[in-house]
Amino acid sequence: MERLGKRTLRAAAAGVAATLVIAGCSGQALEGGTEDKASGDQVTLKVAFWGDMGLDKLKAAYEKDHPNVKIVLNSGEYNAQHEDLQKKLVAGSGAPDISAVDEGFIVQFRGQADKFVNYLDKGGAEFESKYLPWKWKQSLSSDGKQIGLGTDVGGLAMCYRNDLFKKAGLPTDREAVSKLWSNWDQFIEVGKQYTAKTGKKFVDSGTNMFNPVLAQQPVGFYDEQEQLKMDGGPKVAFDLSMKAIQADISADLASFQPNWDQGFKKDQFAVLACPAWMLGHIQDTAPEQKGKWDIASIPGGGGNWGGSWWTVPSQGKNVDAAVDFVKWLVQPEQQIEVFKTVGNLPSQPALYKDPAVLDYKKEFMSNAPTGQIFAATAENLQPQYLGKKNGPTRVAVENVITRVQQGGLKPEAAWAEAVKEAEKVAKS
């Protein structure tokens, strides 16, 4: 009899345990990441971003002034953070209270504006005049909701290896180098000279010619009516990248991949189109090349690559506290602080006149005045509309360029193929 009782108990325990497991899962999902407001008005804000956005000191300062707010920083991998946000938006719960969104993903999230707090409902309209107009517009949904307050912009310049330039008999001074290439054709000519002299490749990849050139065009892949416009900007950029590949100055390395990182160390290329945030990557990848890099202006005028916004998913429980924190973050003092710690260029033009930005010199890049250089390119930029399918279209065209580099496609046949692939994406 006693044995029987024990067995029953055990069975019941197993059943209860199983039920608890299930209940535990759903309970966690429902609560999301935020603490309940009822528990003494103590608010926890989860902030998701990638890399280093210079928040460590700012977090401490904000928590000191707001004792009821606790900020949890969650830095992850660039793509993973965006994908995670997208999944939590679909699921309806579990998203961070505040999430950074990059230019490469803002179009995707702008299309789901109803899942984010509209800053215009929270008194965010006052910020419009402070931002670069195109920066403000990029995070604005088609029905006029503002889902993000800008933090940094990339700007666009041309980084180059002064030691390799010297060996190739090219000028090394940044003014003189900028004069070498006022347009992209001259840039390719310089590349040919370099390759002829050293036997090494000049640029890292044909796609890294295509992307900056496209960023400089008035119209990108799509016009504002969401029509694919391959014959405009994309054709110009594509032809130039083909020209560079045919001139045999490209090392054919895919960006941000192990081979590319290795290419830095093995001097496989001498120039790199670089936005402000790229400096950190160069420094991390090849720390021993300190003083061997410098920054010249990019051929063809201003441009931008990357830069982020702070968004607040509306599913959070503490959206008001989150909005307050973001508003504080984008104030000039904090933006300057971020620029000083990690070098991210603010997106509010008034700050470009600030001595902290104007006089800043980057030691790693041979003391180049990075604040001035990148601010100039961001201010002189022709704003470009990014279509809904901009991301996948770019990948499809980049793949065609890679095929040419791999030798699987003749450069003459490549444009027709690029149009075909882009149209496939546009229709999908």
Binding site: V90, N259, Q262, K388, E398, T402
Partner: protein
């Protein structure tokens, strides 16, 4: 009359010590009838939540329009997503790649596993060491090993190209493993084979050890060599395990994702090479769902993959039974 006499008297029934109390009776019945179900319930609950529900929900999504980048496009799509699938060249290309890599990985993998198991089944020095040794690749996390293989098969400074150059290939123009279908398939199949050969070999080995030795002795007396013994005795006698490994490899092979994903030069595009040379179906589903943001269409693809796996696994099981000697 006699019947009524046999029946116990009324006062007997009320006697407490003979029959257990009501509560205990109930407990006993509960133990026999209900507890077994409660004990197996956790599996079914978990399967229902994480297995069955997603499959059904996926089926519902497959019949709907659901685009994350266009919330206005919603509602039932009928079989629109499935008909689109039939004329989608990306899907057929991915299907071809998946089967190509599947054949390049499964067939050599199972044959090699069989031969290794046969070797391990003999008297060797340090038997345990060898047996654990073949399992080591299986214990390596797939992401870690794939990262190493991605470098191994890189165009510049890759170890694979270095080996090739030793035997006189591609000194001037190193092979770009990712550029062509055949080379990328071989590279990916190599990763899969490396990981799973040892695992399958151990499964075969355990089955082989149940075969009585006298069968082999009799065969040897009749003049059958080791090769003949392997195919005529060992394989037929471990047939159930062979069928099991074939089905498992089919499921795994057709869902191949990690290896092609991380082998790609640009993993985040999920395009499986610049011309989709090695894009598998699982990868295409991921791309359509999370890169092109077309969840309805991705769900339809998942369902198509599910059906394909069911059919292929069934056919493979049948074929293996044939090969295994049921004739």
């Amino acid at each position: 009359m006699s019947l009524t006499q046999l029946r116990p008297a009324a006062h007997h029934r009320a006697e407490p010590p003979k029959t257990p109390s009501k509560a205990k009776q109930w407990l006993y019945r509960f133990d026999i009838k209900t507890v077994p179900y409660a004990l197996i319930a956790p599996f079914f609950i978990l399967f229902g939540v994480f297995g069955l529900f997603p499959i059904i929900f996926n089926g519902v999504v497959a019949l709907r329009n659901w685009r994350l980048d266009d919330p206005t496009l919603t509602g039932w799509a009928g079989f629109g997503n499935f008909t689109k699938l039939l004329s989608d060249e990306d899907f057929w290309n991915a299907l071809g790649n998946t089967f190509g890599i599947f054949i390049l990985s499964t067939v050599p993998q199972l044959i090699a596993a069989l031969i290794i198991a046969n070797l391990l089944n003999r008297k060797l020095r340090a038997t345990t060491w060898w047996r654990i040794g073949v399992l080591l690749p299986y214990l390596t996390p797939v992401v870690a090993s794939t990262l190493v293989f991605a470098v191994f098969f890189s165009r510049d400074y890759g170890l694979a190209n270095w080996f090739l150059s030793l035997v006189g290939f591609g000194q001037d123009d190193p092979l770009d493993w990712r550029a062509a279908k055949w080379s990328s398939w071989i590279a990916i199949a190599t990763m899969v084979n490396w990981k799973w050969i040892g695992y399958n070999a151990l499964l075969y080995l355990s089955a082989m050890q149940t075969i009585p030795k006298d069968v082999y002795e009799a065969a040897a007396v009749d003049g059958a060599g080791p090769w003949r013994q392997l195919w005529r005795i060992t394989v037929p006698m471990i047939q159930p395990v062979v069928v099991f490994t074939v089905i498992l490899s089919t499921i795994g092979g057709l869902q191949l994702f990690n290896e092609p994903m991380m082998f790609d030069e640009n993993p985040q595009s999920a395009s499986g090479g610049s011309d989709h040379q090695f894009q598998t179906i699982a990868q295409l589903i991921y791309k359509v769902g999370w890169k092109d943001l077309n969840l309805g269409y991705a769900a339809a693809m998942s369902w198509a993959l599910f059906l394909i796996i069911l059919i292929v696994a069934g056919v493979n099981a049948l074929l293996t039974k044939r090969i295994g000697g049921d004739r």
